[in-house]
Amino acid sequence: MNYRLLYFASLRDAAGVAEERVQSAARDPRALYAEQAARHGFAFAPARLRVAVNGAFTGWDHALADGDEVAFLPPVSGG
């Protein structure tokens, strides 16, 4: 499947890009993050992150569809 991945804050620094398109056999955010964490060397365990698909928060077991926009969100620090 094809996904569009968005990266923010320290994940963006680690990936070296703000977004990228990937081909992956992963069918949920959990598997997709494991794959990308290994590739980019992300330090965060999934429990520290939230996941959003197509601009809405969702769970790590969400069933992904081809073309989905997926973001792994580090702990926020606005305000």
Partner: protein, 141 residues
């Protein structure tokens, strides 16, 4: 209403939007860029956001405040991009019939914004270093 702003926040214009003839109380919160954090001198900072989701989540928080508290109006604007020390980073304003609800709703909004809205702060230090911050303002390990 919640929105992100890439330019300085016009607090007088926002406050004017809160006016209601039946509102007797108005509480505002401003978050300012401090000159230090954890003993390090801060030169400035940059906020990065996931804009689409930040505005959606921010609007949801303001809507929750309207449901939970007897308020007349509530607004929140959060800066993104580069900010200098002393600049206004986030503004929350709430008007209400009475002050209990205005204080509670204003506090609710800033607490939830800091907890939930996908915005990240990167501080630039006087020693040339910079770094992303955790929600409790400690550096990311």
């Amino acid at each position: 209403m919640f929105r992100l702003s890439e330019i300085a926040i016009d607090t007088a214009a926002l406050r004017a939007q809160l006016a209601r003839a039946d509102a007797g109380a108005c509480v505002t919160f401003e978050g300012w860029v401090r000159d230090r954090n954890g003993g390090k001198a801060v030169r400035g900072l940059a906020y990065q956001s996931y804009a689409e989701l930040a505005e959606r989540e921010g609007r949801r928080i303001v809507e929750e405040a309207r449901e939970r508290f007897a308020i007349a109006a509530a607004l929140c604007v959060h800066r993104v991009g580069e900010l200098a020390v002393g600049e206004l980073a986030v503004w929350v304003g709430v008007s209400a019939g009475h002050r209990d609800a205005a204080f509670a709703a204003c506090r609710y909004i800033i607490d939830e914004v800091k907890r939930r809205v996908p915005i990240w702060k990167n501080e630039r230090y006087a020693d040339g270093a910079s770094g992303w911050l955790h929600p409790d303002d400690t550096p990311v390990a």
